[in-house]
Amino acid sequence: MTVLRSLLSHDLPRSRVLAALLLVTVLALALAPFVFPGTKALNVAAKILVFIVLVASYDLLLGYTGIVSFAHTMFFGIGAYGVAIASTRMEPGFAALAAGIGGALVLSLLLALVIGLFSLRVKAIFFAMITLAVAAAFQGLASQLSDFTGGEDGLNFRLPALLSPSTEFLEEPLLGVSVDGRLLSYYLLFVVAAVLVLALLRIVNSPFGRVLQAIRDNDFRAEAIGYRLVTYRTLSTLLAAVFATLAGALLAIWLRYNGPDTSLSFEIMLDILLIVVIGGMGTIYGAVLGSALFVLAQSYLQDLMRIGGAAVADVPVLSQLIAPERWLLWLGVLFVLAVYHFPTGLVGRLRQRRSGP
């Protein structure tokens, strides 16, 4: 128990239901290759892992520091492009991976520094809008530098042999699952994601993390008791950028592809925002639950609607509404309802019920 406690940085779920849900999510992700066989299911699980890290890193920025930025996908994209570009330009191998991630981290840190310093010059809402434009510009740049980035088409690349699907480690499938590079990649993702999330949990529960919350609440007061906004805001931006970059690298490793739509698009930014809010801002756990729910909905809503659509195929307007083409409509409705009904997010809602420690 004490190990768990210190692993979670003393920030326990504080709700039985929440604890149970988290446990289920973690177990499901840990056992996904065996419990949910199939290519699609594994892809969904991997996407959930990547989003958990990505969203948790954004929660540090938004939920804990109160900075609204639309440029978070930029760092995500840098991480993904780092791996992609290094792997296409260099011999595929761990050296390329390391170089790609290293280079991406350096670039992310530099950009985050500039953005972080800019955030002090303008008011919060201006900052948000500026990051929106910066993100758009970055996307434009990625498309312009097509010699490097593959432009709109993106980059397909190969990974070290150890991680590629064609590498089989066992002759026979284990529990019906072939033990190959893909399985290894998945568990690599799982372990890295777990470490990163626990690290974020530690950061937000450190003395530093508490200062961030104070700044979010009243930055004027925080300055007046001796905390320099420059230092804390910038550090928070840098940290969030680092974690997002790593999430991007994970995505690229999993997909063995990267392009502007995959890691830089505004749509992803929106998904992140929504997940943070659905999950519960300033909780980190919200990122875990939110990502799982959202990615599941996003991936299976259309299938669900196909079934529903078939059932009402003869009803004129309804059948059109439920046609799988219109899945975004329902995602939008879910989106709105979630913001509506979970003002404090899923985690906030569960904690309010005060069910046990």
Binding site: G150, D153, P165, E325
Partner: protein, 372 residues
């Protein structure tokens, strides 16, 4: 017992290319119907189509194609609508060692440097587009300036066009950001470049997606004797051509142009089903379906990939665009293109392209760009 043959169709059922995707899908289903004579079986095996929505996103498409080959046990796949998605799909086909018949994504690199032997394409590629247009416009004494989007697609298109132009003179290449909405600046630059040139003056436009570059015609280009030329497009987009009577170019398909039984069947049945003519991508979808059925007929219903590849390399088949042939080297379907001239007919809400001349595959030297 003969099992079914599973064909996955990955396309943009939603997303920015939804309208295109729908046309391809319609054409594809009609094509299966036509090629199997309404039985939906080949060599006693039933054809089953599995639809996948890539939403126009490469990563989604990639995951869906893998799921189609892996989980749904698709024997063959068709799609997708966008080139970006197509490029992400290529390695998946290679990984699963199954055929991907690309339709209608156009990027040259699909059958070029990113190609692998599992990739075939019924759709035209950018080179075919560009070269046919070059053939249509290439006359001595003509002065051409190009207007294209400033990204890889636009630049490649212009390059292929330039390579194919032999007699005319290209004096200027104008690239504008893909997000351009006000074309005045670009138009003014083009006017300044062209107005004092001798001979016939043409602005050749390669533009896909948002923005309406044909608006530059509103700047009264005629006073400088400048014409506009461009390729074909979907019908709603050709509404803008109404303002450009007499405009010349080359198109991939217009329902009124090809004269052959397949097209006649397509137009008639499409009218019957949808009260509208088939559009640009409908024909492509049909061609893809015909190609698959013909290949399966050749193998006697055998879906083993090596046999299919062997059957398809060099295979010719009849499509709404006439006879197509998969070139053995890069698996690109060689096909006719159509030199047209726009006529304004009040009966149609778009500018009607009238056939000037069919450009036969033999007339176009489509370069091989893959490293085979």
């Amino acid at each position: 017992a003969p099992q079914e043959i599973r064909i996955a169709h990955v396309y943009s059922r939603t997303g920015p290319l939804e309208a295109y995707g729908k046309q391809t899908q319609t054409g594809f289903l009609m094509g299966l119907d036509y090629a199997t004579g309404g039985t939906m079986t080949v060599a006693g095996r039933k054809l089953v189509v599995i639809e996948k929505d890539d939403q126009g996103k490469p990563d989604v498409g990639k995951s869906l194609l893998a799921a189609a080959y892996g989980d749904d046990k698709a024997d063959i796949a068709v799609g997708p609508s966008s080139s970006g998605v197509a490029l992400a799909l290529l390695p998946v086909a290679e990984e699963y060692k199954k055929i991907l018949l690309v339709e209608p994504a156009v990027a040259d690199s699909i059958t070029g440097d990113k190609w692998n032997k599992y990739i075939f394409r019924t759709g035209r590629n950018s080179s075919q587009d560009a070269i046919s247009n070059a053939v249509a416009l290439d006359r001595p004494g003509t002065v051409i300036a190009t207007l294209a989007q400033d990204y890889a697609f636009g630049r490649d298109g212009v390059k292929a066009f330039k390579d194919a132009v032999k007699k005319a003179r290209i004096v200027h290449e104008e690239y504008l950001p893909t997000t351009t909405t006000d074309f005045t600046a670009g138009a003014q630059r083009l006017i300044d470049k062209l107005k004092d040139q001798p001979g016939r003056k043409v602005i050749f436009i390669i533009w896909a997606g948002a923005g309406n570059p044909f608006k530059i015609a509103d700047l009264d280009l005629k006073r400088h004797g400048i014409e506009i030329a461009t390729g074909g497009n979907i019908l709603p987009a050709m509404a803008a051509y109404k303002a450009l009577p007499g405009m010349e170019g080359a198109t991939y398909y217009y329902f009124g142009i090809p004269k052959n039984p397949v097209n006649e069947w397509l137009v008639a049945n499409h009218y019957k089903q949808f009260k509208a003519p088939p559009d640009f991508f409908t024909a492509g979808g049909m061609s893809a379906a015909i190609a698959i059925v013909e290949a399966l007929k050749k193998t006697g219903g055998d879906t083993a990939t090596p046999r299919l590849i062997k059957a398809m390399e060099g295979m010719s088949f009849e499509t709404p665009k006439g006879r197509m042939t998969f070139r053995a080297e890069d698996h690109q379907a060689m096909q006719s293109m159509y030199h047209f001239k726009i006529k304004v007919d009040p009966a149609f809400p778009w500018g009607v392209p009238e056939l000037v001349r069919e450009i036969k595959p033999e007339e176009m030297a489509i370069p091989l760009r893959n490293k085979r």
